[in-house]
Amino acid sequence: MASTDMDLENVRQDYRASLQELTFNSKPIINNLTILAQENINAARAIVQAIEDQIRTVSPTQKLPVLYLLDSISKNVGGTYIQLFARNLCHTFMEIYNVVDQPTKQKLERVLATWIIGPNGAPVYSAEVTGQIERALMKQQMRYQSRGSIDGGRSHIHINPNFLSGAIGQINQMNQIPPVQQNTTNQWVDNSRYSNGITTYSDTHNRQGYYNTQQYSSKTPVPQLLQQQSQVFVPPSDQQRLLQECRQLILQRQQLALQNPVVPLGNNNTSSHNNLLTDPNLLVKNLMEFGLIGGFTPTPPQLNGTPIKILHVNDLPKIQFTSNEIQRKREGAISILYDAFPLQCKQCGFRYARDEGGKAKMDSHLDWHFRQNRRMKERAKKTQSRCWFVGEEDWIHSREADTKNTQSPAFFDFDNTNSVKNMKNQKNPTGSSQTNKKDEVSSESTVIAPSDPEKVDKPCPICKEKFESFWNDTDEEWLYRNAVKVEGIFYHATCHADALKNQQHVKRSTQTKGSPKSPLKGSPKSPKSKNAQIKSSTTENGVLGKRKAETPPNDRIEMSKRQALVS
């Protein structure tokens, strides 16, 4: 492994050294470097990296020759190189495009055009890659366009329409499609250029066989239509924007079609396209419906027909943990966070999916809000303190996924000092006063009555008497008075406490290691050291001492779990 890495690194270094010569457009050097690349196709990765680095680092004037090299390798060597370059091609291309001057930009665009339709008619790079670049280019132009309009709607813009015209020229030649009518009078120049862009775009895809736009691109003079429309409907200041929007719409349609290449658009769709394009009123109406132009409520998640809607991460291509990948903008990705979860809580803005599970979660979430709000109102009545944090074991095992159970995370009742004192007392358990207190405490203990009909009438297994149930307003639950729940079984709190006490008593007096068989699962079973006495009483205090009427329901569940854990 190490040696191949070394080799790769060597090739990269060598190639980089050779690349230094390529400071101007020289065919022999490019040829030479292409041959070098072919010879070292095993080290394609290193060479691609060297070229990409070179493009990134050299001065703007020297970038184009390197791109020519890239182009040359792609066309003459191909294979692995295509795949490797494709990964970063859009980035690389735009990196050059953004820094070079106007003539160079045109040259770049010509290169791009040859990628879409290669020397032998087949695309050099897949439509996916070139489409990405095209979109980036258009976006770039759009930005200029919008800046232009901010600057007072000047008709002169800094884009290079020649590319599109040039490209379309080529394409048209190859396709034998008659050039689209161009209305190049005075201020509409830019618009028509734009429209050319649209035609180019549809033609491109037409060639790929994805989308049959033949009809409207050739039969319907789009530029005319668009101008006609902008003249008819909008004040001049909005023209640019509207045009962008039209373009956007058409792009969207195409992208939608691209997303579902298996389902070719039928005749109906095509005709609706034609309608859409021939009837300006309809177009505007459609645009309104798509929410692309004014007069709509701007809540994006409700937008239908948003160009790309990615609702699940698995729909996205794999994102590598590299700087480039992380920086790149992904169209439509934000809908993973928004559109995928259309149900929104009005109170806090949290979103849920519109499916069974999502609705249920939303309901319990709203319940939670309701309870919370009511508690807030009631807070004046009683003072609250922060509750204890949980212990390691509890934390590891605590689950609060279900919002229903989040009524209160209070694990310990903290309305008096008992719990604190008990904690202190754990260290030196003494005397009977504590025992008395314990009894008194345990008789106040309550547990939520089971809803399971089988369990409802079950008596306490120790005294065989039934439980007394009552309605608790604070918790909104039926509770059992004087009860504890240990591992799913209900006991009278007093019975349980007595049983525990007796058990310990037995242990203490006999000092036997094996514990007597006990009906109580929660009791300590095999004391390992003389510490056991202290520990077991700890259990008792720890559990019973904190059990109070005000402790909310799920605490008790946790508590019983806790008890089980402690013992």
Partner: protein
């Protein structure tokens, strides 16, 4: 379109100024503002969507901020025409989230532990904000990530000076930073249950050995939880660290990595710092710490707490201190993590003590004693002398 109304109330002396203003944000723009400790700013979203550190805010309710530096961000804008905005690094943060989410999907299938993200960097670069964003996004995706806070200076979740881990399963309260309100407010229904280890200094460098030991303990606890919790397992962990990048810092970071990661292969990714990150000076930090401590005891204006005061006889409590300076001649290495009993006197007045559930804190064995003490049950003010 997103419209905001900002209502600023300035209390200067007895005078109360009330200024209201409306803002309209373009897509992918961030609205940043700083609020003094003496000022309250109320923020209301009128239309559109917006999020604060990844947590989406609702239309209608008013959000109150005081003593905070806030950045409100919107993805959606006036219309669907998008343009590339490099003004905020939110795109890369979103991509980061998406990459993590893909990772989660993968690990879910293979039933492995999800992504573990360790966020490192110097102070004031937005580490905690980034953790918030990543956690918040994960939560919105229906995940339950675990947030591990190793930043002892800030104490985002509980108190300054603690090492904390908490599962994030409920919307992060935008008004109160990370989690102050998410610490278990009784009866308030917040379900955030943190586990806390008390470190006691605001700088990991002050007792590196102890810090490392606690990190290891925390990592272990988190691992155990993840082994038990399916949701947390796929969702993974986000670890926020102290802004330490000197020698000790690297040592600590290395240690964190060793503690939390069992798998070989780590991806290191550099993310851009947001232009909106503001430097917080010492006073601001101190004020934040003070507020955190106050909040622990007294709650928030929205939900006040009254600390329980109780009289405890001094011979009922055992107070220990970790790593006190010992006379020369005794190996300092050992003492750094050892518990030393402190006789209660005036020196502990006005200090914060951590309460543990230890049954026998003075067991000789160093290991056992630390095991028991380091777990914080509650922290309370020393008001009993």
């Amino acid at each position: 379109m997103i419209t905001l109304s900002k209502n600023q109330m300035k209390t200067t002396g007895s005078k109360v100024e009330d200024v209201s203003k409306e803002w309209i944000l373009e897509p992918e723009h961030e609205y940043r503002f700083e609020v003094d400790f003496s000022t309250i700013v109320k923020l209301k979203l009128i239309s559109g969507t917006a999020e604060i550190y990844g947590t989406e805010i609702g239309i209608g309710p008013e959000y109150e901020f005081s003593g905070r530096k806030i950045a409100l961000f919107t993805w959606h804008g006036t219309c669907s025409v998008e343009y590339v905005a490099n003004e905020t690094p939110m795109t890369s943060y979103l991509n980061m989230h998406l990459a993590l989410e893909q990772f989660r999907e993968e690990t879910k299938v293979r039933d492995e532990v999800g992504p573990k993200v360790l966020i490192v960097g110097p102070e004031d670069v937005g580490k905690t904000s980034l953790s918030k964003i990543l956690l918040s996004y994960a939560l919105r995706q229906g995940r339950q990530p675990i947030f591990v806070d190793l930043d002892v200076n800030e104490g985002s979740v509980t108190m300054p000076g603690t090492l904390t881990a908490t599962p994030i399963n409920q919307i992060i309260d935008v008004e109160e930073g990370f989690g102050s309100s998410t610490t278990t407010l009784p009866f308030l229904g917040s379900s955030m249950i943190p586990i806390t280890y008390y470190y006691g200094y605001s700088d990991p460098g002050e007792n590196v050995k102890l810090y490392k030991m606690l990190t290891a303990k925390l990592a272990n606890t988190v691992k155990l939880r993840i082994a038990n919790d399916k949701d947390a397992k796929t969702s993974g962990i986000v670890i926020d660290t102290s802004g330490l990048i000197d020698n000790i810092g690297y040592e600590i970071i290395q240690h964190c990595v060793d503690c939390f990661e069992e798998r070989p292969g780590i991806n290191v990714l550099k993310l851009a710092k947001s232009g909106g990150v503001v430097d917080r000076d010492k006073t601001f930090r101190r004020q934040t710490q003070m507020r955190k401590i106050r909040e622990y005891f007294y709650g928030l204006p929205k939900f006040e707490l009254s600390p329980c005061s109780t009289l405890i006889s001094l011979n009922e409590v055992f107070i220990y201190r970790v790593g006190v300076a010992l006379p020369i001649g005794i190996d300092r290495k050992v003492s750094e993590t050892q518990l030393v009993k402190v006789e209660p006197d005036d020196s502990i007045r006005h200090s914060i003590l951590a309460l543990t559930s230890a049954n026998s804190p003075d067991e000789q064995n160093d290991h056992i004693s630390t095991l028991s003490w380091s777990f914080t049950k509650a922290i309370f003010d020393n008001g009993f002398i």
